[in-house]
Amino acid sequence: MTRPVYLIREALVNMGRNWMVVLGAILAVFVSLTLAMGAVIGSEIVRINTLQWQDGDHVIVFLKGAVDGITLESHLGLESEINSWDIVQSTRYVDQAGAYDEFQQIFANSPALIREVDPASLPASIRIELTDISRWRDVQLRLIDQPAVRSVTAQGTVLESVSTVARVMNVGGTILALIMAGSAVVLIANTIRMAIYARRDEVAIMKLVGASNWFVRIPFFIEGILEGVVGALLAVILVALFRPWLAEAGEAIDLIQLGVSDGFFYQRSVILVAFGGLAGLLGAAVGLRRFLKV
């Protein structure tokens, strides 16, 4: 029998003998890494939705019209001035006809409302996309006193709260994932210690007859890695089962997207399984540290 086969067999026999402890460790890793994977996916969902909301018009400047003595030239002059500002990425002028088209699209399901509204009552506007959306207040202050400006609205308040949520979710998710990962390592270390305790006579004899330290340790490392990988695989399977359900729920809500791309999911799954193995290896190393001195 070759040594690798012997070592793997020893690890499996070991796991079979202490199957309840091993099962406990696998389930603990499974729960920890499911929560970690959930946190990772939650962060991604927030990121995707924040991006969606961040796209488009950050500031809308509603303009006074002919009745106020403001001409089209004034509108275009203002747009040109705004365009020259550093913090402005681009501008788009929407005249009254354009505003009416937009109104009709938005209220396509309410023909009565469309009939009631006079196109002349809808103001022309300049839609502004900023290079840095956090500076929306500066733009608002510079525009508010312009003679051609009727009012200025910004998604700034919404964006700020969304950004805060995103930051909290990202930091919170990372912290939660790290805590869960740490607990997985500790749980595996504990299991390995119990396995060593259960095999203490065998280990003592192995050392007495001259087994190298690595020969004694490797089955425990294999056990730790297997526990980590199996726990992580179970976590990936559970999250994979919930993914379609989550995406459907998002579609039902309509405003937000609850799905992540296949590429993102597969990549993170591979990382999670690799992390499971690494956590197992680390847990085994911690568990072995004190117990296997020469």
């Binding site: 029998m1 040594r3 012997y6 006579d201 065998e202 003592a204 004899i205 192995m206 050392k207 007495l208 007859v209 001259g210 087994a211 190298s212 330290n213 020969f215 004694v216 020469v294």
Partner: protein, 230 residues
């Protein structure tokens, strides 16, 4: 084969287990370590196995100064030293054959070599027909034979025995001593710590007496108690 020079072992900075031990054991010798409990016999055995490190002095085993041996080389030292203990130290879930084979498997011997050497050594200790039995199915004497077989299966040049007859009745002890004598005649150096007066007196081999951690007597063909001897 074994040389101790000015060896002292102090536990916790206060308890002196052995002190200023000077000892030379030649290849093929059979040496009894005798003395009362706490005299330092077992500490000496543990020092030779590098289960303990000497506080002072040098110990050479098979030509190597084991006090300077790095930890990762200790397993290689132990492959040159077979060990037999009073409590047999057998694995209850393994058969006799598996217990003996275990000593070869864990040092990476090929399967064919393991099979051949296990057969030979079980024949040597008189257990050729009991390879499939489990330890609990054997008598105390037979279990100690398995322990000797496991210690000798790798053909080490040195065999260390710590009270190997301590759990056996006199008749069974004689059988074990015959076996150790037979192994010694193959050129293996045997060092045996014992309290058994009758065995030491009957064998008439070299006797090193210890008391309170120091060597008080070293006779080429001695008895347990001080008296006649050379």
């Amino acid at each position: 084969m074994i040389r101790l020079q000015d060896v002292t072992k102090v536990y916790d900075g206060a308890t002196v287990a052995v002190q200023d031990i000077e000892l030379d054991i030649q290849k093929g010798e059979f040496v009894f370590l005798v003395g009362p409990s706490g005299s330092g016999k077992s500490t000496l055995i543990r020092l030779l196995l590098r289960e303990e490190e000497a506080t002072r002095g040098h110990i050479w085993v098979a030509g190597k100064d084991i006090t300077k041996l790095p930890s990762w080389k200790v397993p290689y030292l132990r492959r040159t030293v077979g060990t037999v203990f009073q409590d047999f130290k057998l694995l209850p879930q393994k058969t006799v054959g598996e217990n003996v084979a275990f000593a070869l498997e864990v040092i990476g011997r090929p399967r064919t070599v393991v099979h051949t050497q296990v057969e030979q050594v079980l024949d040597l200790v008189g257990l050729a027909d009991k390879g499939d039995r489990f330890p609990h199915q054997l008598s105390g004497g037979e279990q100690q034979r398995v322990s000797v077989a496991r210690a000798f299966v790798n053909r080490p040049p040195i065999l260390l025995c710590d009270e190997p007859t301590g759990n056996l009745d006199p008749a069974t002890s004689v059988g074990i001593m015959r076996l150790l004598d037979r192994i010694n005649r193959t050129g293996t150096t045997v060092v045996m710590a014992t309290h058994d007066h009758a065995i030491v007196d009957a064998m008439r081999r070299r006797v090193v007496a210890l008391d309170a951690g120091t060597v008080t007597r070293d006779q080429r063909t001695g008895r347990y108690e001080e008296g006649t001897g050379t």
